[in-house]
Symmetry: C2
Subunit: 691 residues, 2 copies
């Protein structure tokens, strides 16, 4: 955690020996066609580089001379791929380092992923690699490939292209490559990241930022060694104009297990990854197909700067369907202004629909150039932000040879007009493998088989482009560690940090209660302390109006719960107010995660919460609050006055800085926080210390 909180700038490691080595050794090369060392050697030998085969017991492999150890080679070797049995792996790495190898790909499994002793040995090995000035990919990985340097040290085929694929699973990488192929996309580099003993996903992203052949980065990652380094690297890629799309697993509640507070249970691993992506300008998807679908839009389509979409169809059904799909993802299909309607109408027969959605109503069969002409009006219009062409286009070739030629020409002409105007244009066709669809893709237009996918990708593209990634905030560690976690101590620590609370006193006796009540004034609240589930167990009495009521409440609490002490507090005036939950959870990989939500019973029932990497400045906290579904409750809903959002944002910022400074605290929570038009007050506080 400490390293993660430092202000050190990221160091970009030179991975040339990994992706473009001058020579390669295959350690564990084999003649056995059932072995990885065979498959790798066969493919390595197809390349243009010198390849040395290493086999402990055989003088020849694949009909070529082999040496028993890499140290036995006279020549310097840049990269060693090690595919030997687990028991021999560490010795093989040490041999390679001794021979001056600069990069190692560890295929062998059975080390760090077995936990405990294996993990300790893996860490020691990585330290030796680093001390030697080398780098290690894996172990437990499937190899590396770079089409731009003609390096292929994998066992699967990847289509050539400009997307870097960094994956912790071989099968997911194959899946992804297949999905990309249907979109005419391919791979610049592939790295199987394995156990990330030395090189982690952040290092590999950094190297792709520098790599000319890579235009975007596709990432499948099951675990982040250092989440904030990932955010930092992904943000660098984003700023370099290289989109990063991330697929993770473990979206469920695994990370929330063992959480003690509501905040803890609400900050699940998917929420943390989402917060990290928002900080990095990366996009987080939930399947290989989504990853490929979004990447296609990112590399082909100019992001829309607004939500007004023209639907351009050659059939009423697809026109309506596209409109529905677009509206379902938050885009708008509104009637065109008259000038545009008229312009479109001049290109189409009278039975066509031209108001948006456009239905050319059979005009395509009569004159395929109507597509080009209508598209010309659409891409030139300032009244729309994007065009979705949907339906049959691509299938007109079945009508006649003339239409087949004309259709491809129309596709090229549309693509040219889109490029010239810098327009946002995506297409759906039932015939995605047709020559016309191919011409659209070649011209730089994203093509989807399903219109809901086209709509989704367009919308996500717009959301992505509209983000202002705030990067990795740097917490400043506090001088003194927190050691007490009770309610009263949490309240005082947070009040000291600047969180406003109502006036209160901790009392142990009836006499102290009376004095405190007199000092504070009615109405009052009593809270039985010594039990962190006080509200669930009836340990909180609200709205105590007078002395008699106070006595009754005190007696009842003593009878039922016999608390060691009681907190007596002024009752906050909640008129026109909204309850919030504000909390921070320390994530082992991503550090402090700030959570805000609309509170009360809805917090858990409806999960109207949002998270961000902490700490947050008040401005970012305000933006987070306003991104809640129920934000309208804060800004003044149905005639109610707006609450003091700035004060709430300051409170969130204060809590986030406090938590980020205290990594010994695993969870901090103010729940509820009352925010009214008159200000903000925390009504409860909780601190959970890390075990």
């Amino acid at each position: 955690m400490t390293a993660l909180l430092s202000d050190l700038p990221p160091v970009t490691r030179d991975l040339t020996p990994l992706f473009d080595p001058s020579s390669v050794a295959i350690v564990g090369a084999s003649d056995d066609p059932g072995k990885y060392g065979n498959w790798l050697a066969v493919r390595a030998l197809r390349g243009r580089r010198p390849v040395h085969l290493v086999n402990r017991s055989r003088p020849t492999v694949l009909g070529r001379p082999a040496v028993p150890s890499i140290a036995g080679l006279d020549l310097a070797v840049d990269l060693a791929v090690i595919a030997v049995p687990a028991a021999a792996f560490e010795a093989a790495v040490d041999d390679a380092l001794e021979a001056g190898v600069k990069a190692i790909v560890g295929i062998t499994a059975g080390l760090g992923e077995t936990g405990g002793e294996g993990r300790r040995r893996q860490e020691a090995l990585a330290a030796r690699v680093q001390a030697a000035g080398a780098c290690l990919l894996g172990p437990n990985c499937l190899g590396v490939l770079d089409h731009t340097s003609k390096l292929d040290l994998t066992v699967n085929d990847f289509p050539v292209g400009d997307i870097a694929v960094l994956s912790q699973s071989g099968n997911i990488a194959i899946d992804l490559a297949a999905q990309m192929t249907t979109h005419g996309l391919g791979v610049s580099r592939f790295a199987s990241i394995g156990n990330q003993a030395d090189l982690d996903v952040a290092d590999l992203i950094e190297s792709c930022v520098e790599h000319d052949g890579t235009r975007a980065i596709a990432l499948y990652c099951e675990g982040f060694r250092d989440g904030r380094r990932f955010v930092s690297a992904a943000l660098r890629a984003h700023q370099a104009g290289k989109p990063v799309v991330l697929l993770t697993v473990g979206r469920g509640t695994a990370s929330a297990r063992g959480a003690a507070s509501h905040t803890g249970s609400l900050v699940s691993s998917d929420v943390v990854v989402q917060a990290a992506c928002e900080a990095a300008g990366a996009e987080n998807v939930s399947s290989p197909s989504q990853l490929a679908d979004l990447l296609q839009a990112m590399v082909r389509t100019r992001p829309p700067t607004g939500k007004r979409v023209a639907v351009f169809s050659d059939g009423g059904g697809h026109a309506s369907l596209a409109s529905d799909c677009l509206e379902a993802v938050g885009m708008r299909v509104e009637e065109f202004p008259e000038a545009l309607r008229k312009a479109v109408a001049t290109e189409l027969p009278p039975n066509a629909t031209v108001a948006n959605p456009i239905d050319v109503a059979g005009a395509g069969e009569q004159d395929i150039t109507c597509f080009t002409r209508v598209a010309g009006h659409l891409v030139a219009s300032r009244d729309i932000d994007a065009v979705v062409m949907t339906g049959y286009f691509g299938g007109f070739r079945d009508y006649s040879d003339e239409l087949a030629v004309g259709e491809v020409q129309a596709a090229r002409d549309i693509a040219r007009a889109v490029a010239e105007r810098g327009a946002t244009y995506v297409s759906h066709t039932m015939f995605p493998q047709s020559p016309a669809a191919q011409a659209l893709r070649e011209g730089g237009i994203a093509v989807y088989r399903n219109v809901e996918t086209a709509a989704w990708a367009l919308s996500r593209l717009g959301q992505w482009a509209a983000r202002e990634p705030h990067g990795v905030p740097q917490p400043h560690p506090a001088a003194n560690a927190v050691t007490q976690a009770g309610y009263w101590s949490a309240r005082m620590l947070l009040a000291d940090a600047g969180v406003p609370f109502v006036a209160a006193a901790e009392v142990a006796t009836r006499e102290e209660l009376r004095i405190a009540a007199t000092a504070l004034g009615f109405p009052l609240v009593l809270k039985a302390l010594g039990d962190e589930h006080k509200s669930d167990r009836g340990g909180v009495v609200l709205g105590i109006r007078d002395q008699e009521h106070l006595e009754r409440a005190w007696n009842d609490l003593q009878d039922r719960l016999a608390p060691p002490t009681v907190s007596v507090e002024q009752m906050a005036d909640l008129t026109d107010g909204v309850e919030l939950i504000v909390g921070v959870r320390q994530d082992p990989s991503f550090g402090p995660i700030v959570l805000v939500g609309i509170g009360g019973v809805y917090t858990e029932l409806l999960r109207d919460t949002r998270c961000a990497l902490g700490p947050l400045d008040p401005e970012s906290a305000r933006a987070l609050l306003l991104s809640l579904k129920g934000a309208a409750l804060l800004t003044g809903y149905r005639g109610k006055p707006a609450v003091d959002i700035d004060a709430a944002a300051r409170l969130v910022s204060t809590v986030s800085h406090f938590a980020a400074a205290h990594t010994e605290i695993s969870e901090v929570e103010c729940n509820p926080v009352a925010v009214t038009p008159r200000g903000v007050t925390a009504l409860d506080a909780r601190i959970i210390l890390a075990r």
Copy 2:
């Protein structure tokens, strides 16, 4: 509306002349290869039936004799397809009827869909068709096809299979057929429903219920002539074991435009269609791909009876991904009990993961029969409700010829075990077109290319099977129509119907106010009447505690709003209560739609509302309330007592029967309704009369 509310049983029309005619006439047959009458004639002539060509001006068409009018044929003709210019269409229909034709397919467009006069003439034409004892498909349709009777009167190719496709769009039908083809599914019948002038979607569904060659029904419908007849027909299909899946458009807010109440604005067209599908046991999807994906599961997979899924993978990435996808759609991937874990472990190498998800960890390459053996344990287990096999299976053929053969055999063996055990088993593979995937499909196992789709389809299948469709409730019209719509009149009408309200009085003067206040007792509520937006405009004063407060509130209302009258009401005790919204909107096609929701500001912000076809009995109303996302608020949340759900359900039922009996009312609403542990009370009421 009146017809729809009748108790008449649906009449199944004999559509044999449409789907299996003894002879066919093509009216408007043409030699011009750019014309529909040409395409239809060419395809019709390929069939086995006598085909007669009719052309007004040419003695031969396609080298065969043609007659100028269908009446000119000596022979009786069962079915006439009419593809003539719009101006000649009605005369051609009349000619056909005169010649004794029993079924007509109207291709010609330009009649009912143009509205106004065209619609009137279309209605008259349909009446003439019915009077002649014939039936009419269309007009403005694309034809009809029945692979079981070898009838093809369309212009597109549809793969042979056992799914009936009824579609209001030709392109959507083509799209759908292509999507079905990728799943190895095909079409039994296709009918293009067009304007539904005579035969509507309900008639066509009814005919498919009787049709032996049809196993399921895929429906694309843009508008329902009579929504309740659709529900009735779809329910019959459901009860006959023929699943119905519906794709509609216009999911947006179109139908909600012009709504006066909250209920009105919340009952959008997608909500109405969803309610109709729930009543019918049909499933409502949002794209052609979803339709095909769900149909595949429906015709191949036994619905799961629970949510416990075994994930069976050949790679860690897909194992985790499948688990995430399943949990995201509400299924559960839980650790296996020890016995099952051990049984699975006996079939796999020690590095395999066997606790769920299962990762065979490379065992497939070594011995492909491990898939069959593990699957055998899974389908025999009572501890799981479904299996999702995911990942690489289908791709092992690339390793060796032996594996290629073994993989197909494994697929067959798995399919046999699934069938024998009656298990629920779906699969995802990166190689959906592989021989092994094909063998899975042939053996009756649904195969998907994307694991999120497999998870979604499995979950939807389970939801569908768990529904208890309640069919079409029959409203009983009231004797007297409602003509007054003010607050006080709405309150009295609903109170008469049995809706509990707090005691109240309508007063116009300070003197009347004083008398009423004395009779009712404090605390009180004042509502300024004469304005239906009273709460938005500050016309409601809550919590009036005493005479002085009452005077002040009265003066303030008079000063600001000068209402003609004021309602003075007892203030309800809302302790431990929940606010509900209860309303009914008359839909022009589907009749009374009942809406319930958790009320307060959340109604609109979070849209926690549910709808059903009305009227509802108290039991159905209770089920609807309990299907709300916030149902936990009703059943006792975090230590709070449960509210009186039965009383709330009775109120919903009462309001629904009242609204259903009064079709002159377009919207009825009680908002809020307070339901507490002590009972239920409506706190406001509103009636909007139909214009």
